[in-house]
């Protein structure tokens, strides 16, 4: 479930990146992060499948819920990292102009 949610996040962020109007949103970081995590969880899933066999595809409901919760939390963390990096980089200079206005 975590793998699935991360793959969806990777595909959605890639589509948004492809349709972007400018490079100012630094979406590349977000999609590379999600694709990297997806590939890593894919390896994890392959090893787990090799160990459990067909049982891997019939997880308990509790495990599904926990994994889904984890997957959503991972996506949230990825988005937070991206937004923090975006605000620090401040490619449009908006943060700087707001801070300059408030500075005495």
């Amino acid at each position: 479930m975590t793998l699935l949610i991360t793959v969806f996040a990777a595909v959605i962020s890639t589509v948004i990146w492809y349709n972007r109007k400018d490079d100012d949103m630094r979406l590349g970081i977000l999609l590379f992060m999600f694709w990297g995590a997806s590939l890593m969880w894919l390896v994890d899933a392959i090893f787990e499948y090799a160990e459990l066999g067909a049982e891997y595809f019939t997880p308990a409901l509790e495990d599904i819920i926990n994994d889904a919760f984890l997957g959503l939390s991972v996506v949230a963390l990825g988005l937070v990292i991206w937004v923090v990096r975006l605000l620090i980089a401040d490619p449009k200079g908006k943060v700087r102009s707001i801070l300059k206005k408030t500075a005495v």
Partner: protein, 132 residues
Amino acid sequence: MACFLVSAAEAAVVKVVESVEEKKEQQALENGSENVSANVIPWSVRLRWLFNMLMGGAVLLAFEHVWHGEVTPWFPFLTAMSDPGDAAEMFHEMATVGVCMALLITAAWGVMCVAANAIVKRPEAAPQETKD
């Protein structure tokens, strides 16, 4: 257990190589070197893609390990390190799962670089009309 550490270590090495490569490219640009081709993606950019994939994946997987209680904010940080049996299992997992993760990401990046170069070198086509 700590499989993300392999990718994180590779990411650190890639970052160092990327910095060196970036400096070389800047020097080449300043010197007006003829080796700088317009239709080739610079190595520093390609290495940045790899770093972002490796480090991004490692950070998100580290969070998963915190979630499962395998990583703690206090010494020895990895719960498996407190027991020799668990530590041996952890090192085995790093050598198998961790190395496979790093290899798969590097392989995917290699394919991406080849595809990206092919796309850059492809002649620009006229916009296609939709048939339906």
